[in-house]
C-alpha cells in the first residue's frame, strides 16, 4: 500500500501535466492521469527497459488519453473550431490563458490548438515536453520519418497561420 502511494505521489504531477497537455481539459486530464497510473502499475512487469521509463510511462498515458479523445471524437472537430472563436470563449480566462505571458503566446496557442489532432500531438510532445523525435516515434509507434513529416507540416501550418492572422512580435520584427 505504502509503495503504491509513493509511486502515485511521485508520478502524479508529471503524468497529470502530460495528460493535460494532450487533452486540454483539466477534468479529463485528472481522470486520464489516474487511469494511466493504474495501467502503468498493472503493466510494470511488462516494462522491458528498452526505452526510458519516462517514455514508457508517457506512452501509457498517451494511450489512455487517446481513449478519452475517442470518447469525445464526435465533438472533437467542433471543439477545435470553438476554441478559435472569441464569442464562445468562457467569460473568465482559463488558468492557462491567465498564465499567457502576452498576446504572442495566446496567438501561438490558438494556432497550435487549430492543428488537427495528430499534428497538434507531435508539437505538444516535442515542445511542451521536450521529447526527441525518436522518443515521440516510440510513443506513437510510427517511424521517426513520420514524426519529422508531421512536425514539418505543423510548423509550416503555424508559420502560415501566424502570418495570416496577427504576426507575433518576432515575426513583425523579422519583416521590418
Amino acid at each position: 500500500m505504502r509503495e503504491i502511494d509513493d509511486l502515485v505521489r511521485q508520478c502524479y504531477p508529471a503524468v497529470l501535466r502530460f495528460a493535460h497537455s494532450i487533452l486540454d481539459d483539466p477534468d479529463d486530464a485528472d481522470d486520464a492521469a489516474q487511469e494511466a497510473l493504474i495501467n502503468a502499475v498493472a503493466a510494470l512487469d511488462r516494462y522491458r527497459g528498452d526505452s526510458s521509463f519516462k517514455t514508457w510511462l508517457y506512452a501509457i498515458t498517451l494511450n489512455t488519453c487517446r481513449t478519452h479523445l475517442r470518447k469525445r471524437k464526435v465533438r472533437q472537430s467542433v471543439v477545435n473550431a470553438i476554441r478559435l472563436i472569441v464569442p464562445t470563449r468562457p467569460a473568465t480566462p482559463s488558468p492557462e490563458e491567465a498564465a499567457a505571458q502576452n498576446e504572442s503566446d495566446r496567438l501561438l496557442w490558438a494556432a497550435v490548438d487549430a492543428l488537427d489532432e495528430k499534428h497538434r500531438l507531435v508539437v505538444v510532445l516535442r515542445y511542451a515536453h521536450d521529447l526527441s523525435t525518436r522518443e515521440i516515434a516510440e510513443m506513437l509507434r510510427v517511424s521517426e520519418g513520420t514524426v519529422h513529416s508531421r512536425l514539418h507540416y505543423a510548423r509550416e501550418k503555424l508559420l502560415k497561420r501566424l502570418r495570416h492572422v496577427h504576426p507575433p512580435h518576432w515575426m513583425e520584427e523579422a519583416t521590418q
Binding site: I4, G49, K54, V78, I85, D116, Y127, R150, L162
Partner: protein, 524 residues
C-alpha cells in the same frame, strides 16, 4: 557549389531543428541561404517559431504544484477505478489478479530512487527475484486487493451484468495506426471505415483464407457514434486478442452475417444510394437545442454552402462573415474534418466547420449536434486530359521494382480525390489509409483541378507518407518521376477540368495499410 532546391533547403532546415544535420548538409544549407534571401527569411522565421514554441508551450502547462490533499483525492479516485476494473474483469472471465501481484513486485524492484531520475537503473528488470521489500509489498497488495474485494461492486450490479454479458468472449484490441475495416474477409472487400489504434471489440467470426491469412469479424461499440454498434472484418495481424478465442466460430462463405454490417457500401452492390443517406439522429439529441454557425474572421473560411459535405458538391448558397445559420447536424470524418449541415434562407446546405464560429443557443447549444452519416456519391464529371505543348507531357516510363503481376486496384475511389477547384491560392489536403492487399503494390490517388476556360494554373502537390516505396506522378514538371516516400513536392501546369493521378507503391512483399497525406495548392 549550391545544389539544393528551395524545397530541399527548407526540409533540411526543419530537420536541423529536431535532429541536427550532417556537416555536408549544413554547409549546403548555409550556401543556399547565402544565395536565397527568401529562404534566409524563412529560416529566420522558423528559428524564431521554434524558440517561441519551446518557451511558450512549456510555460503553458507548467508543472502542477499539487498539494498533498489533491493527490490524496486522486488516490481515492484511483481506488474506485481499480474496483470497477476488477469487477468488469471478473465478469468477463479475463481477470488476471496475478498481473497485479507481479506488477506490485516489479514496482518495488524499481522504486528505489526510480522517480528521482524517473528512469530505472540499467538492468533492473521486473523479472528479478523479489527482495524482502518486494515480498512485503506483495503482501500489502494482497491486503489492498482483499479490502477492495470486500467492497461492493461499484456501479456494476452483478446479477444484471452477468445476465447480459457472455462470460466467454474473445476480445481484441486494434494495434497499428488507422486500420481499415472491411465488409468482408479480405483486402478485396470494401473498406467501410477506419478503426483507430486501441479500439476494443468482440470477435464474432474468424475466416481462414489460407496461407496464414486469417480475418476476424469484430463488433465495436461507440455510444457516441451513429450507429453506436457496427461490425466488420480485420486481418488478424492488426489486432491483439485476449479472452477465450479458441471457440470463435469459423466463418464459411455464404454464412448470413451481412445484417451485422450496417454500413451500406457503394461498390459492393452497384445499387445507387440516395445522394445523402442519413441515419436517425442520436436519441440523446435535445430537440430544444439550437446551434448557429457562421464563418469566422479568424481564418480563411469557405463561405459557400454545398449540397453535400465536401467541396466536390454543388454550391447552393453562401454566407457572409459572422452571418449565422442554424446548424442541424454534423458529419465528422475521424479527426480530420467536420462538415455542418445548416439551414439558411430556406436552403439546406453544408459548410466546412474548420473556420466557423459556433454559437449555442437553447438548453444544450451546439453539443451534441446529431451525427449524420453521409455516403457521398462521386461527382459527375469527365476528366479531360488537357496538358499541352510546353507543359508537362505524360511520358511512359519503365517502373523500377514493379513486378509484372502487380495490379492496380480496379476502380478509382472518389474518396481518394483531392478537389482543388481553380482559384489561385486555394489549398487543401486529404489524408487516407490505403487498403493495399497482399500482392497488390499500387494505389492511385488523384488531384482534380477545375480551371476556368482560357486560363491555366500551376498545381503544387506534396505527398507525405510512411511506408510507400515510391510515388509516381506522370505529368510532372518539377520533381523526380519516381519519388521516395517522404515529404515530396511536385508541380504541374494544367488547364480545364483535369484529373491528375498519382500512383503510390509499396515495396514488393509488403501489405497495407499505408497512411498518406496528399496536399495540394493552386498557383498562378
Amino acid at each position: 557549389m549550391n545544389s539544393l532546391t528551395h524545397t530541399e533547403a527548407r526540409e533540411l532546415l526543419h530537420l536541423s531543428l529536431d535532429v541536427g544535420l550532417k556537416p555536408s548538409d549544413r554547409r549546403a544549407v548555409e550556401a543556399h541561404l547565402a544565395e536565397c534571401p527568401a529562404c534566409a527569411a524563412y529560416a529566420n522565421d522558423l528559428a524564431r517559431l521554434d524558440a517561441h514554441l519551446f518557451e511558450s508551450m512549456q510555460a503553458r502547462w507548467a508543472d502542477p504544484d499539487l498539494p498533498s490533499l489533491e493527490i490524496d483525492r486522486g488516490l481515492r479516485h484511483m481506488e474506485v477505478k481499480v474496483r470497477q476494473r476488477q469487477a468488469r474483469a471478473r465478469l468477463l472471465s479475463v481477470a488476471q489478479p496475478a498481473v497485479w501481484t507481479a506488477g506490485v513486485i516489479a514496482l518495488v524492484a524499481v522504486l528505489g530512487g526510480l522517480f528521482g531520475a524517473i528512469r530505472p537503473q540499467t538492468g533492473q528488470q521486473p523479472e528479478e527475484t523479489p527482495t524482502a521489500d518486494a515480498e512485503a509489498a506483495a503482501a500489502a497488495s494482497e491486503t489492498y486487493l482483499a479490502q477492495m474485494e470486500a467492497t461492493s461492486l461499484i456501479g456494476l450490479p452483478t446479477a444484471t451484468v452477468a445476465a447480459t454479458v457472455d462470460p466467454v468472449v474473445c476480445m481484441i484490441e486494434v494495434v497499428g495506426d488507422d486500420v481499415p475495416l472491411h465488409d468482408g474477409p479480405g483486402e478485396e472487400h470494401q473498406v467501410t471505415r477506419v478503426i483507430e489504434t486501441g479500439m476494443v471489440g468482440v470477435v464474432l467470426y474468424a475466416a481462414n483464407q489460407g496461407s496464414n491469412d486469417v480475418w476476424l469479424m469484430v463488433q465495436f461499440e461507440e455510444p457516441l457514434n451513429n450507429p453506436p454498434t457496427y461490425a466488420g472484418w480485420l486481418p488478424v495481424q492488426d489486432v491483439l486478442a485476449s479472452g477465450e478465442c479458441s471457440t470463435v466460430p469459423e466463418y464459411l462463405p455464404g454464412d448470413q452475417v451481412a445484417e451485422l454490417l450496417p454500413t451500406p457500401t457503394l461498390a459492393a452492390t452497384g445499387t445507387p444510394l440516395p445522394a445523402i443517406f442519413e441515419a436517425t439522429p442520436t436519441p440523446t439529441f435535445d430537440p430544444n437545442a439550437v446551434c448557429y454557425v457562421a464563418p469566422g474572421d479568424y481564418g480563411p473560411p469557405d463561405v459557400n454552402l454545398y449540397s453535400g459535405p465536401g467541396t466536390m458538391y454543388e454550391i447552393v448558397g453562401s454566407l457572409e462573415i459572422a452571418e449565422y445559420a442554424r446548424a442541424t447536424g454534423i458529419f465528422s470524418q475521424m479527426n480530420y474534418s467536420a462538415w455542418v449541415r445548416v439551414e439558411h434562407e430556406g436552403v439546406v446546405g453544408w459548410v466546412d466547420a474548420t473556420y466557423y464560429m459556433f454559437d449555442g443557443r437553447g438548453t444544450m447549444g451546439c453539443w451534441p449536434l446529431p451525427q449524420v452519416n453521409v455516403y457521398p456519391l462521386p461527382p459527375t464529371f469527365t476528366p479531360t486530359p488537357t496538358l499541352e505543348g510546353d507543359l508537362a507531357t505524360p511520358t511512359p516510363q519503365p517502373y523500377p521494382g514493379l513486378s509484372a503481376t502487380s495490379t492496380l486496384l480496379p476502380d478509382i475511389d472518389y474518396n481518394d480525390v483531392l478537389y482543388l477547384g481553380g482559384d489561385v491560392g486555394y489549398e487543401d489536403e486529404l489524408t487516407r489509409t490505403l487498403p493495399l492487399a497482399k500482392g497488390a503494390t499500387q494505389h492511385q490517388v488523384s488531384v482534380r483541378v477545375n480551371v476556368p476556360p482560357g486560363e491555366q494554373r500551376h498545381v503544387n502537390v506534396t505527398v507525405i507518407c510512411s511506408r510507400a516505396e515510391s510515388i509516381r506522378w506522370a505529368p510532372y514538371e518539377e520533381g523526380a518521376p519516381y519519388l521516395v516516400c517522404g515529404n515530396w513536392y511536385g508541380r504541374v501546369m494544367t488547364q480545364g477540368d483535369n484529373l491528375l493521378t498519382l500512383t503510390i507503391s509499396l515495396a514488393p512483399g509488403e501489405a497495407g495499410p499505408e497512411s498518406y497525406t496528399l496536399r495540394g495548392s493552386v498557383a498562378p
